[in-house]
Amino acid sequence: MAKGGEVKLIGGWPSPFVMRPRIALNLKGLEYEFLEEKFGAKSELLLRSNPVHKKIPVLLHADRPVCESLVIVQYIDEAWPSSGPSILPSDPYDRATARFWAAYIDEKWFPSMSGIARAQGEEAKKAAIDLVVEGLSLLEDAFGKISKGKPFFGGDTIGFLDIALGCFLGWVRVTERTQGLKLLDQAKVPGLAKWAERFCADSAVKGVMPETEKLAEFAKLIMAKFGAPPPQ
């Protein structure tokens, strides 16, 4: 049992946002009970624990709920400071930088990814793809500056920004496959391309990153059922 009380996580296997606290808990070596939500139906526990947004993930620590994936990751880092590596950098400027790019990923880059599947027609699709590629180029640049030659944004080990971006890699691969694209192109974003492989191979990530095949099947199901990509 984790120090300070039982840890539970309400979530779903396909959600990149749910993956974030799972990776954080793994990095900290913390045991937790994974309460899997059925897609399309929200449990009583979820509605009770996150009445404001009614969304996953929700962390329950000694029955107290924490919501919003990046808020949860920071909570995990601060509630168990002596377990495992620090998830956020120690220097305030580096922390601000990590938070800045995590917010950019959530507010700009990931929404642009969903834009690809939603785009109607050749021109709109090309514009949507260009937007994602532009964002990746910014992130490639950021990776170079932040990692300073180390394997991850967080340095030697996975950190906050690795988690914030890496959780989307499954969906990036699904998009590449369904759209016939290469987004993590070795030629265009060599740093990120190699980082992605290291991230997915990491022991804290391997068990919780869904297989591309399984995700692609899930995406097909959603498109068939709702005629739209999965909600954020």
């Binding site: 808020v71 920071q74 922390r95």
Partner: protein, 223 residues
């Protein structure tokens, strides 16, 4: 060692105001750099190339952007007068509600003031729902931060502008019958000397919003 602290802001935007409040509460000396968003300075574009927005805090030559992120940076860099609580759970709650303020409350209130008719009714209903949640958060507290102004008070401080919007548009969003705690908080917050000190002149704000309100209505009536 002399520290260089510069805040890129506009005279009216509430987001740089958050940073000004934080710096004032901590007693940090800083220089204000006033931007004209219709004619952005090269420095601003250099320091915030991704969003090209204010606020930007420049500390010893290094820029930080995004107001809530700047708040945490300020709190972590200058330890006097803590803005965020110590307890990890309380910190998580403060961050959650600040995000709720920016992601849900602000857009719904903005939509309410911008729209008309049925659209406005819907926006108002949504805004009221969100405000009700904030009202509940204030139970038993003088400020969101407890006895003193903290991170969440600063993050929600833009609500103090509502009086101006309400005056210009004759829309009532924060009525004291439904939101007694929020109204009381607003008064306590706005009256605090540090907050009042940085607040843009009310008459200028009113003039600005009247102009914007009229421009919007002129547009819709000419279509």
């Amino acid at each position: 060692m002399a520290e260089e602290v510069k805040l890129f802001k506009t005279w009216s935007s509430p987001f740089p105001l958050r940073v000004a409040w934080a710096l004032q509460l901590k007693g940090i000396q800083y220089e204000s750099v006033l931007e004209d968003l219709s004619n952005k300075s090269n420095l601003l574009l250099q320091y915030n190339p991704v969003y090209k927005k204010v606020p930007v805090l420049l500390h010893n030559g290094r820029p930080i952007s995004e107001s809530l992120i700047i708040l945490e940076y300020v709190d972590e860099t200058w330890k006097q007068y803590s803005l965020l609580p110590r307890d990890p759970y309380a910190r998580a709650m403060a961050r959650f509600w600040a995000k709720f303020g920016d992601d849900k409350v602000l857009p719904s209130i903005y939509a309410a003031f911008k729209s008309e008719g049925k659209e406005q009714e819907a926006a108002l209903a949504e805004a009221s729902e969100h405000l009700q949640k904030l009202e509940e958060e204030l139970k038993g507290k003088k400020f969101f931060g407890g006895d003193n102004i903290g991170y969440l008070d600063i993050a929600l401080g833009w609500l103090a502008n509502l009086g101006v919007f309400e005056e210009v548009s004759s829309l009532r969003v924060l009525d004291v019958e439904r939101f007694p705690l929020l109204c009381a908080w607003l008064k306590e917050f706005s009256d605090a000397p540090v907050i009042k000190d940085c607040w843009p002149p009310r008459d200028m704000l009113i003039a600005k919003f009247i102009a914007r309100h009229q421009a919007r209505h002129a547009k819709s009536s000419s279509t």
